[in-house]
């Protein structure tokens, strides 16, 4: 029986990693809503986020905020590249949903292998954003990285909300989510929205990667587990609902950190995957019900 006084601490680490899953889950939703495509290369963005930030920081010696900005732009560009090179040609040929999934999964593997060749197989990590001793509140210890993760995630959600509500591009993307054909008849350039959604989704993944790497590590093969966690978050939240995905992510993060305490770290992926299967079998529409 684990010591119950650890519980709040475990919950905190669950929330932090859950925010990350949530951001990745939102990335899934953004592309899905704009195009109906489930991009299985989503994890590659997270991996690239950590890896590129590490390289920029250590080889170019740029300060962290600039390194992070450079990384996000670079990964967004990579997102557009995937859209142009892999997704667009299939989209134009009216490929089936399954072929699209397979192609994006293949893209994931290509990126993973490129990262292995370029950066090697050694895990890498980033420094904490704020190098101060953690804050103690009774039995609970709060690290500054935790505050960064939660703060940036919440900020991003507010910004995304404003983007979808107020900007022209955001409104156009929502229109696509609602009805692509009608959107296209109204003069919205649906294919540009596809590229934009990949850029946005990749940027979200990059932010997630940069935020989480200081607390663990990054390596060429972290993408798939992150993508699956993000997908689970999206499913739990009812696919296509960004806010639901974020809540789903936090739920998953909490479940996983509890599972680590109960069964050991080795089975945390099995726990996450089991959550996925249970949700798919019992409530495929998510906790809030399916979007649309």
């Amino acid at each position: 029986m684990p010591d119950l006084s650890y519980l709040p601490q475990i919950a905190l680490s669950g929330i932090a990693v859950g925010c990350i899953y949530g951001l990745i889950g939102i990335g899934f939703c953004v592309i899905y809503n704009a195009s109906g495509i489930v991009n299985f290369a989503q994890g590659a963005f997270v991996m690239m986020g950590g890896m590129i930030a590490y390289s920029v920081l250590n080889t170019l010696g740029l300060p962290l905020p600039i390194a992070a900005a450079v990384t996000i732009v670079a990964v967004a560009a990579a997102g557009v590249a995937i859209e142009r090179v892999v997704v667009r040609p299939l989209w134009d040929r009216k490929a089936t949903m399954f072929v699209m999934i397979l192609a994006t999964l293949a893209a994931q593997i290509v990126i993973e292998r490129l990262a292995l060749i370029v950066a090697g197989d050694q895990p890498k990590t980033l420094p904490q954003f704020t190098d101060l001793p953690p804050i103690r509140l009774g039995v609970v210890v709060i690290s500054y990285q935790f505050l960064w993760i939660v703060g940036v995630s919440l900020l991003l959600i507010v910004l995304l909300g404003q983007f979808f509500k107020r900007t022209k591009a955001g409104k156009a993307m929502r229109a696509c989510a609602f009805n692509r054909e009608a959107a296209s008849l109204q003069g919205i350039n649906v294919s540009r929205m596809l590229a934009l959604s990949f850029a946005l989704s990749a940027a979200l993944g990059a932010v997630a990667g940069v935020l989480i790497t200081p607390t663990q590590y990054t390596a060429f093969n972290v993408g798939v587990p992150f993508a699956i966690s993000g997908f689970i978050a999206a499913i739990v939240g009812g696919f296509g609902r960004p806010l639901g995905a974020f809540m789903g992510g936090i739920m998953l993060g909490l479940t996983q950190s509890m599972a680590i305490v109960a069964f050991g770290a080795g089975l945390k992926n099995v726990a996450a995957l089991s959550v996925l299967l249970i949700f798919l079998f019992i409530r495929p529409g998510g906790i809030l019900g399916e979007a649309k």
Partner: protein
């Protein structure tokens, strides 16, 4: 039946196109027997994968379903064979029977809820099943010995007769592949196979004609799981070693590449794809790190530019006898 002859008698060019990849595959196998050595091992892998892909093709090509998780069944059967023969000294055939039974049992239990899903939900659920089995293989160290893997697995043997020579193994594998292919061909040409193909075409129409769609999907899932289980057991006996990586995501991507290179939904496609894709790393020897990179990139290019694969090469020619 006025223009029936025009359909059955195909022009020589067309026939040549159909025959070309087959000539390559047969040539490679023959060359392996003559040349021996490492090439025999390469072709043996190709044959094992061919068994896996033939099964996958029934579920995906014929029945039009999706599974990213058939590596789970290969792993279940492979590990059962490995543990029972290496630790408990079972006969390979008996160990395979146990592995097959386990794989089918798991396929039945997970298949029933999984196959009610559609689209990306089905894709993700099957992917999760494969990953769960992989994770368990890495974590359940008392049985699987984790990443270290299990060695000392008994070689391929049939009723007490061990096949030791590499050529002998390849010969046995070729026979198994031919049998597996024959079985797949018979299934496809039967009432059973037609029902699967009907489901791929239109589930509503199939149901309207009295086909119990859920029942047939599950049956197709089980059949393909049996093929995967056979491939998994064959692998561990031929290599005499197993580790989780053998049945990881890599296996899924490789199998899909083979399926698409050969031609999904065609009878000979799986064999063709397995042989040709297995040859690729030999051409890029010394680029071991680049293997998966090439598979992935190659798969993307295929999906975009030749989604029907080599077996459908003849489709590039103008077709006669169309109404």
């Amino acid at each position: 039946m006025t223009n029936l002859p025009a359909i059955t008698s195909r022009d020589p060019l067309r026939r040549g196109f159909v025959a070309l990849p087959w000539a390559v595959a047969c040539g490679m196998l023959t060359y392996a027997f003559i040349a021996g050595g490492y090439f025999v091992t390469v072709m043996s892998f190709a044959m094992i994968y061919a068994v896996f892909v033939i099964g996958l093709n029934i579920f995906m090509g014929t029945a039009g379903q999706v599974s990213f998780g058939h590596n789970a069944f290969a792993a279940l059967s492979g590990y059962t064979s490995a543990v029972l023969t290496a630790t408990y000294y079972w006969e390979p055939i008996a160990a395979f029977a146990a592995g097959l039974a386990l794989a089918l049992l798991v396929a039945l239990v997970v298949g029933w809820p999984t196959l009610r899903l559609k689209g990306h939900y089905l894709a993700m659920a099957t992917l999760a099943i494969g990953l769960i089995v992989y994770e368990i293989a890495t974590q359940w160290q008392s049985v699987t010995q984790g990443y270290m893997g299990i060695s000392g697995i008994s070689p391929l043997a049939f009723w007490g007769y061990e096949i030791v020579s590499e050529r002998g193994k390849l010969f046995a594998l070729v026979l198994i592949v031919l049998l597996a292919s024959l079985a797949a061909a018979r299934l496809r040409a039967s009432r059973f196979g037609r029902a699967l193909a009907a489901i791929a075409g239109s589930e509503d129409a199939a149901r309207a004609l009295g086909i119990d769609v859920a029942h047939y999907k599950l049956a197709a899932f089980l059949v393909s799981a049996a093929y995967a289980a056979l491939a998994g057991s064959l692998f561990v006996h031929v290599v005499e070693f197993v580790s989780p990586e053998v049945f990881g995501l890599h296996m899924v991507v490789l199998a899909f590449t083979m399926l698409y290179v050969g031609g999904i939904g065609t009878l000979g496609g799986p064999i063709l794809g397995a042989v040709i894709v297995s040859l690729l790393p030999e051409m890029f020897r010394g680029f071991k790190d680049y293997q998966d990179l090439f598979y992935g990139a190659g798969l993307i290019i295929l999906l975009i530019y030749a989604p029907k694969g080599l077996a459908a090469l003849s489709d590039l020619l103008p077709r006669k006898g169309r109404a």
